[in-house]
């Protein structure tokens, strides 16, 4: 199998993984927009995390930003799989930024809020997987 073929498979897998992240972030965005994260009756375990001030940036729910980020990852990975080289560079930068944001949110959950939201942990796992895939993609020099 050629390196180019390998890359296509890697980017296709990254796009599929990003879809799982998009589904998770979309669900959390809806919860934030309906006010469910500020209530009991939805997912009480997540209240302390999603109802905290850390769950919003300039009034915008972090989940909405996450959904946009996962959609962008999906787009870049899809274009990269079709051979668009610029999309590969953008994908690396975006996944890198998401990785750093995920480290920050894990720190906040563990050491500031002392509570974990399972949806946030799922999103963290997805971002780590994406980072692993982006690092593992064979470089173009090997071709």
């Amino acid at each position: 199998m050629t390196v180019s073929r390998f890359r296509t498979i890697f980017y296709t897998v990254a796009a599929i993984v990003a879809l799982a992240g998009l589904a998770d972030a979309t669900y959390l965005s809806v919860q934030a927009l309906t006010g469910e994260t500020l209530s009991c009756g939805g997912s009480p375990d997540c209240f302390r995390v999603l109802g905290s001030s850390y769950a919003r940036v300039a009034g915008i729910p972090v989940a909405v930003l996450g959904a946009l980020a996962y959609l962008s990852v999906f787009a870049f990975a899809t274009f990269a799989a079709f051979g668009y080289t610029r999309a590969r560079t953008l994908l690396i930068f975006l996944v890198g930024a998401m990785f750093l944001a995920t480290l920050w949110f894990l720190y906040v959950q563990a050491f500031v809020l002392h509570a974990y939201c399972r949806y946030c942990l799922f999103s963290a796992a997805i971002t780590f997987l994406l980072a692993g895939l982006v690092i593992a993609v064979p470089s173009s020099q090997k071709q």
Binding site: V30, A32, T34, C40, G41
Partner: protein, 279 residues
């Protein structure tokens, strides 16, 4: 019947295989089947070339189509989920409001009884957001002083194991005139009693701490009056479409659940005060 002898005339064998499937290109002649090429435009080679060109042009647009389809699907499913999850709350009818005669009898009110703004809260003692809101409600009473009163309504959620028992304990304390003291203790100690299997013993110890007659308290927790109060609040909440706690109403109008933040609640109270002063 014997199979016809097939003779194939063509420059390349792949084209012939395809041509054999084209009925108009077959001609039977003296027991033999001759396959005739009808023109260069029908060869596999030309068909494949056209197909490959079509694929190439499709490939250029395919990633755009895929990304647009996924974006639309995410947006559409998000919108559907939002519509399904969004609570449809009704305003509190006048005869059930805190200003109505029938409701006022069983109501727990904090703050100035004649305040122009009433913040009515449907809450569950085992719900952590309700616990957080209880602390914030005290801040609001200090901030708005005589302009605000807060009404508490029981809405124990079925998913919370001790919520109904806690509501009954608060109502039993209320029958001895100490509802708010029990309300405060229940929220303060929420993390403790929520996790133990037998919360009743702790509720009784709280009743002792706030100076209630314990025998009367035990009777009232199991009694008809406390149960009726909890049930009537819950029935009112159900009729208003409440599904989550805390659910807030300001001057009988529901507060949008996404505005349950300190800033959102303050803004709603300010708007209600402004509306009252204009009226």
């Amino acid at each position: 019947m014997s199979l016809p002898n097939v003779r194939v005339y063509s420059r390349d064998s792949r084209a012939n295989l395809l041509s054999l499937r084209l009925p108009f290109a077959r001609h039977a002649e003296g027991g033999s089947l001759f396959v005739v090429r009808t023109g260069p435009h029908l060869t596999t080679h030309s068909l494949r070339r056209s197909f490959s060109l079509l694929l190439q042009s499709m490939k250029r647009y395919l990633p755009f189509v895929i990304v647009a389809a996924v974006a639309l699907a995410a947006l559409g499913s998000g919108a559907m989920l939002y519509r399904a999850k969004r609570p449809h709350l009704l305003s509190i009818p006048e005869n059930k409001s805190s200003s109505g005669k029938s409701g006022a009898e069983s109501m727990h009110i904090r703050g100035n009884l004649d305040a122009p703004v009433t913040l009515e809260e449907f809450a569950d003692f085992q719900c952590p957001p309700c616990g957080s809101f209880a602390g914030f409600a005290e801040e609001l009473l200090k901030q708005y002083d005589s302009h605000l009163r807060i009404v508490f309504r029981n809405f124990p959620l079925p998913g919370h194991e001790h919520a109904r028992e806690a509501a009954l304990a608060a109502e039993a304390a209320g029958l001895q005139g100490h509802f708010w003291e029990m309300h405060d203790v229940l929220y303060r100690e929420q993390a403790v009693w929520s996790k133990i299997p037998n919360a009743r013993e702790l509720f009784e110890s709280y009743a002792g701490t706030i100076g209630l007659n314990l025998d009367q308290f035990r009777k009232d927790v199991d009694g008809e009056k406390a149960r009726e109060r909890v049930d009537s609040d819950h029935a009112l909440g159900d009729s208003l479409g409440i599904k989550l706690t805390p659910t807030l109403f300001i001057n009988n109008h529901p507060v949008d659940p996404k505005d349950k933040t300190p800033e959102g609640v303050r803004a709603a109270i300010d708007a209600a005060l402004a509306a009252k002063s204009q009226a």
